[in-house]
């Protein structure tokens, strides 16, 4: 295929890439975007929950709908969108090759924006290679994009936002979740996400790990155990769970192969998820023609990925040789706006990781976080009237409650990380904020419903929605059934965007207790657990490299006996990283083993040397590219 000349090439069509492309094109640049999938939107296309953040980052809108908006924007500004094209190398002369089904695209851009996203971390334990052990993103794709249930009963590993959100989505799809386990002593994600699944009866077990799975042709069960302060399983605490699916949500690693390949300066930053390309505040890497944005530049939320994309797109466009009509004043105005948005999103306790990570990367001091004006306070007692109660517990950067309240009763203020404050006098208990809260953390209580009863308005995102007059099992915040309750109202309104408002009437004493309900009885636990003899299961037999079938034992032997001291040496001895996944599954695990065995820090180990093509391509495809060259 002929060489394609473009001003800006964006690699990756997720939130960062789409925003980068639209931004650059809006300012007049000629932009080509390539993505390896046949559908654009990246991971947004499977996010059924409403986003946090503010209006500028589409807060309150579901991820699936944000994807549509971003694709439309990019198209409107004239970005050329090419799907099914995987960028496989950035060559020294600045040419980028992208493999398609029919051959290679060869692109010569003036500027490159790498928005290649991330990949899911693997967790290795005996039998973790069995079918039925899936990445959390994979489970989301299967159920939310393809409409297929991954299994019947799931064990979720990891209580970060992804684990918590996917657990909730599994329940929405009618799939049982046996438990969410988390090895540390705290829920890493938003408490509001944890509360959403707790009140549906899913236990979140802190300080727990998975010891092993068992099964013939797929997962049939898993043994979990409590861990000590050094994360080692405590003997005698083992428990078996009958599950057919184990879902891993143990973090993400930035996908940076192309940036290594391009010779960008790289740095290991734990808070950003691993090695990332050094970049400045304008998202420019050490190679002045290459920019980064989104998870590829450090793991964060999709909201900040969109803004980083805009920063990269704006700067790449401004740096073009041709005068595209972007004035200095316009450039500076936009940049300031985006920087402020990023700063807002990274405020508070949840932004700390990104603040620290980005500062460490840039070698800049950590910017002092402006003091947060309002923090969670226990809701003061009120015994009369009807009004909303706010249970968001943490300083999350988000403001849909303020934005949607028609009465101006809720104030978050300029800093969206502030805790929302209620002016009870202005609240008329309409419930609009209840339906808009991305964390489903607002409830309306009417204590004057009758002399002895309180009416509670709950957000409900399950089917079927009960009808007025139905009786349901009312549950507390841990999902325990506490009483029967009458449904006094059920509102499904288009403006509430698929969140129903269900009003329950309970005795006054349950007003502060009931926060959820179940229509029918509790999902029955499966009967007796059938388990083969697992007494000889050996951690050393765990398969670390799934492409080449390499066990932990062989890797440890290569280090102890053969003296391997780096990923490249392990690769030469055992082929780890040479299989079709190119090390995406095993590399992080091997670097952890190396660090532990050699008693060094993980950041001292470099990943394998990357050379194009970054993904396996057929020899036929390569030969075809060569033929065309000669013709």
């Amino acid at each position: 295929m002929a060489m394609i000349n473009t001003e800006i090439l964006v690699i990756g069509g997720g939130p960062a890439g789409l925003c980068a492309a639209a931004e650059a094109a809006e300012h007049g640049a000629k932009v080509l975007l390539v993505d390896d999938k046949d559908v654009l939107g990246g991971q947004l296309i499977k996010q059924t929950h409403r986003f946090f953040g503010s209006r500028q980052q589409y807060a309150g809108v579901r991820g699936i709908d944000i994807a549509k908006i971003l694709i439309e924007n990019a198209r409107e500004f004239g970005v050329e969108l090419t799907t099914g094209a995987t960028a496989t190398a950035i060559y020294g002369d600045g040419v980028v090759a992208a493999a398609t089904d029919d051959g290679f695209l060869k692109v010569r851009p003036e500027k490159i924006i790498a928005a290649t996203g991330a990949y899911e971390n693997m967790l290795a334990f005996p039998n973790s290679d069995l079918p039925g052990v899936y990445g959390a993103g994979a489970v989301q794709t299967l159920m939310n994009v393809n409409g297929v249930a991954p299994g019947n009963r799931v064990l979720m590993i990891g209580a970060g936002n992804i684990g918590l959100i996917v657990a909730y989505q599994l329940l929405q799809a009618g799939i049982g979740v046996a438990a969410v386990i988390e090895i540390t002593d705290r829920v890493g994600g938003y408490y509001v996400h944890a509360n959403k699944i707790r009140r549906l009866g899913v236990p979140i077990l802190l300080r727990h790990t998975v010891k092993y799975a068992w099964g013939g042709e797929g997962v049939e069960g898993a043994a979990i155990a409590r861990v000590d302060e050094r994360y080692r399983p405590i003997p005698g605490t083992e428990r078996d769970l009958a599950v057919d699916t184990i879902c891993l949500s143990v973090g993400l690693t930035p996908l940076t192969e192309l940036l290594w390949n391009a010779g960008c300066g790289m740095k290991y930053i734990a808070q950003l998820g691993g090695h990332v390309a050094w970049h400045d505040e304008n998202m420019r890497t050490s190679r002045e023609d290459i920019y980064v944005a989104g998870d590829a530049s450090g793991i964060e939320e999709a909201s900040s990925a969109m803004i980083e994309g805009k920063v990269a797109g704006l700067n790449a466009a401004y740096a073009l040789k041709r005068d595209i009509g972007l004035s200095k004043k316009n450039y500076e105005g936009c940049l300031e706006d985006y920087r402020e948005q990023l700063c807002q999103l990274r405020r508070g306790p949840f932004g700390e990781k990104a603040r620290r990570g980005k500062s460490a990367l840039m070698g800049a001091p950590i910017p002092a976080d402006r003091p947060i004006k309002s923090t969670p306070v226990p809701d003061e007692e009120f015994q009369k009237g009807a009004r909303v109660v706010i249970e968001c517990e943490q300083n999350i950067p988000c403001d849909p409650c303020e934005a949607t309240c028609p009465h101006g009763a809720i104030t978050v203020g300029e800093d969206m990380v502030n805790y929302p404050l209620l002016d009870a006098g202005k609240c008329n208990a309409c419930g609009i904020c209840v339906a808009s809260c991305p964390g489903l953390a607002l409830f309306v209580l009417n204590r004057d419903y009758s002399q002895t009863e309180t009416e509670i308005i709950l957000p409900y995102e399950f089917i079927p929605v009960p009808n007025k007059g139905d009786r349901v099992d009312a549950c507390d915040r841990e999902g325990n059934v506490v009483c029967r309750a009458r449904v006094s109202r059920a509102v499904k309104s288009k403006k509430f965007d698929r969140t129903a408002l269900v009003s329950l009437v309970v005795e006054d004493r349950y007003a502060d207790v009931v926060r959820s309900f179940r229509i029918s009885g509790i999902v029955p636990e499966t009967g007796r657990i059938e388990k083969p003899d697992m007494s000889r299961v050996d951690e050393m037999d765990t398969i670390i490299c799934v492409c080449e079938d390499v066990t932990r034992r062989r890797i440890e032997e290569a280090i102890d006996r053969d003296g391997a001291q780096s990923m490249d040496e392990i690769k030469r001895l055992l082929r780890c990283g040479m299989g079709p996944c190119q090390g995406k599954t095993c590399q992080r695990l091997i670097m952890q083993i190396l660090a532990k065995k050699l008693n060094r820090n993980i950041e001292e180990f470099k990943p394998q040397t990357y050379r194009g093509p970054m993904k396996p391509v057929s020899l036929g495809l390569l030969a075809k590219a060569d033929d065309e060259e000669e013709n």
């Binding site: 390896d36 999938k37 046949d38 059924t48 579901r62 699936i64 990949y119 899911e120 290679d129 069995l130 079918p131 039925g132 052990v133 899936y134 990445g135 993103g137 994979a138 489970v139 794709t141 299967l142 159920m143 939310n144 393809n146 409409g147 297929v148 249930a149 991954p150 299994g151 929405q172 799809a173 009618g174 013939g216 042709e217 797929g218 995102e461 399950f462 089917i463 698929r498 398969i543 799934v546 492409c547 080449e548 079938d549 299989g579 079709p580 996944c581 995406k584 599954t585 396996p616």
Partner: protein, 104 residues
């Protein structure tokens, strides 16, 4: 496994039926499926046998990165079925080992 027919947030169009074969058996998928999702919906979880230890392997990342779901599709080995759209009449086979070289 099963198809999700009702969902509080999403609507799944139950698209046109697509028939294909898996290891000689006729299986039905739906328009919009990948080969992997059609197999999952049919309750098939083992897609290949690992190269040395002959262990069962299946779907893992669903976005074409891990290659755990490599199968032989219309005679072509090492096809990542999680990112390959299902087509009418496609012949899907369990991959054993590394997958041979096709001789045309």
């Amino acid at each position: 496994m099963r198809r999700i027919t009702e969902h509080p947030i999403l609507t799944f169009e139950q698209g046109r039926k697509i028939t294909f074969t898996f290891d000689g058996k006729t299986i039905e998928g739906r328009e919009g499926d990948t080969i992997a999702s059609a197999l999952q919906a049919a309750g098939i979880r083992v897609y290949r046998e690992s190269i040395e230890m002959h262990r069962p392997r299946g779907f893992f990342c669903a976005i074409g990165r891990c290659a755990n779901c490599s199968m032989i599709v219309d005679g072509v080995p090492n096809t990542k079925v999680c990112v390959t759209r299902l087509r009418e009449g496609v012949v899907v086979e369990t991959q054993r080992g590394r997958g041979g070289v096709r001789r045309d």
